[in-house]
């Protein structure tokens, strides 16, 4: 059932918040360099799936295997370290530290892994150039537009050269043009570094940037591409 060569695989995930089940036997897998859209109605468990896959939340049961390692049995510190070094994150909004300048925000994940400030900011600037926001370096997030801020966030998610980028509604707060541009830059950058992207979205136009979509409904997942090929 699980294709060969997957980077991140989840099987039979169950997770409940209180009495409400958020995940009820969900499955997932992603290859290096693959962009997978996670779709489904609100409250279906999309974000919970993403949080489990990223090791932010531990599932109640089920297994998550990343690069041969079992994620759900790792201690918190190890999972945090994994998130710092191997994963990148983009959220809908409110993720940039308002006091730090844009370049400092982008450099933050590198700094968390212990990279020296100058070097981290040099790398950060490189990624900001790729995301076409290099000129915003010394502005604060409050002084840039939503689209620019989101590109800064994408640059930040890529700055550690992660193997998996988790994007939770990355265009949710943007207009179409900016949304398209962010998606284009994100997927291109990810493909060029052979990073996998887990993209949670409810917009088909955004999902169209993916290679394949997984639908989550009532805590269960359906891999549409696989069903089709089967």
């Amino acid at each position: 059932m699980i294709p060969e060569g997957s980077l991140l695989v989840a099987r039979d995930l169950h997770k409940a918040y209180g009495p409400t089940p958020a995940l009820d036997g969900a499955e997932f897998s992603v290859h290096p360099g693959e962009v997978v859209a996670v779709m489904g109605p609100s409250g279906s468990g999309k974000s919970t799936l993403l949080h489990c896959l990223a090791g932010i939340v531990t599932p109640d049961s089920g297994t998550i295997t990343y690069d041969g390692r079992e994620l759900s049995s790792m201690p918190d510190a190890e999972r945090s370290a994994l998130r710092r070094t191997e994963f990148g994150f983009v959220f809908q909004f409110g993720q940039l530290v308002p006091e730090l300048t844009c370049v400092e925000n982008v450099a933050l994940p590198l700094r968390l892994t212990g990279v020296k400030r100058k070097e981290a900011e040099r790398t950060a600037l490189h990624w900001m150039e790729r995301l076409e926001v290099a000129d915003l370096g010394h502005k604060r997030p409050g002084e840039v537009s939503g689209g620019q801020g989101q590109r800064v966030a994408v640059a930040r998610s890529l700055v550690t050269s992660p193997r998996v980028v988790f994007a939770d509604e990355p265009t949710g707060a943007l207009d179409s043009l900016n949304g398209e541009r962010v998606m284009q830059l994100l997927t291109e950058a990810a493909r060029s570094t052979n990073a996998a992207v887990v993209l949670v979205t409810h917009e088909a136009r955004v999902a169209a940037y993916s290679d394949r979509e997984v639908v989550v409904r009532d805590g269960k997942s359906r891999d549409m591409m696989m069903e089709h090929t089967v």
Binding site: A37, M39, P41, Q184, E203, A204, R205, A207, A208, Y209, S210, D211, E213, V215, R217, R222, M224, M225, E227, H228
Partner: protein, 174 residues
């Protein structure tokens, strides 16, 4: 839109007279374009010939005789295949998609599956359009954008319709 499949789907809920079928069809799908009775009659006879329906009984009433039709096992399979088969993504699919969703709910099938399958089909086309847009010139981009927005609109409408009807069905059942 396939009238034959629609009538078959309606019959799946139980045997029915031809005239009642027309009324059910008009009520659920044909608000602005009511079916001619002749259309029903010719369709039913084709379905009868293909073995997808059978005559359940004949009533001799005050007027002309009335046939009661029932769906056959082959008919049920045919409906199933039709509902599950995603439509080729193109604009203005709403009547067919709507019919499928309604029939799925009427016949106790999962309308969500219909939506998922259709979404996958839509996305397949949208991915191609997105890819084309990526490499094309401005006019390509504009044309692709138009198509993408329409396809997305259809999908969103379909998702909303499924959700609305699902809600209604839940309310009716409870």
């Amino acid at each position: 839109m396939s009238i034959g499949h629609t009538l078959l789907g309606l019959l799946e809920s139980g045997p029915c007279h031809g005239y009642d079928l027309k009324r059910a069809f008009d009520e659920k799908f044909g608000h602005d374009r009511p079916l001619h009775y002749g259309q029903v009659y010719s369709t039913m006879s084709r379905l009868l010939k293909n073995g997808l329906v059978e005559v359940d009984g004949v009533e001799a009433g005050g007027g002309p005789e009335r046939k009661r039709y029932a769906i056959t096992a082959a008919g049920v399979t045919d409906v199933e295949t039709w509902i599950k088969q995603p439509e080729k993504p193109e604009p203005y699919l709403q009547s067919t998609l709507y019919t499928k969703v309604v029939l799925a709910l009427l016949t106790g099938r999962d309308a969500g599956d219909v939506v998922d399958t259709q979404r996958a089909e839509h996305l397949r086309l949208m991915r191609a359009l997105t890819e084309r847009k990526r490499h094309g010139d401005l006019s390509d981009q504009l044309i692709c954008d138009h198509a993408l927005f329409h396809l997305e609109a259809d999908l969103r409408w379909l998702e909303l319709t499924a959700a609305r009807l699902d809600q209604l069905a839940t309310e009716v059942r409870s």
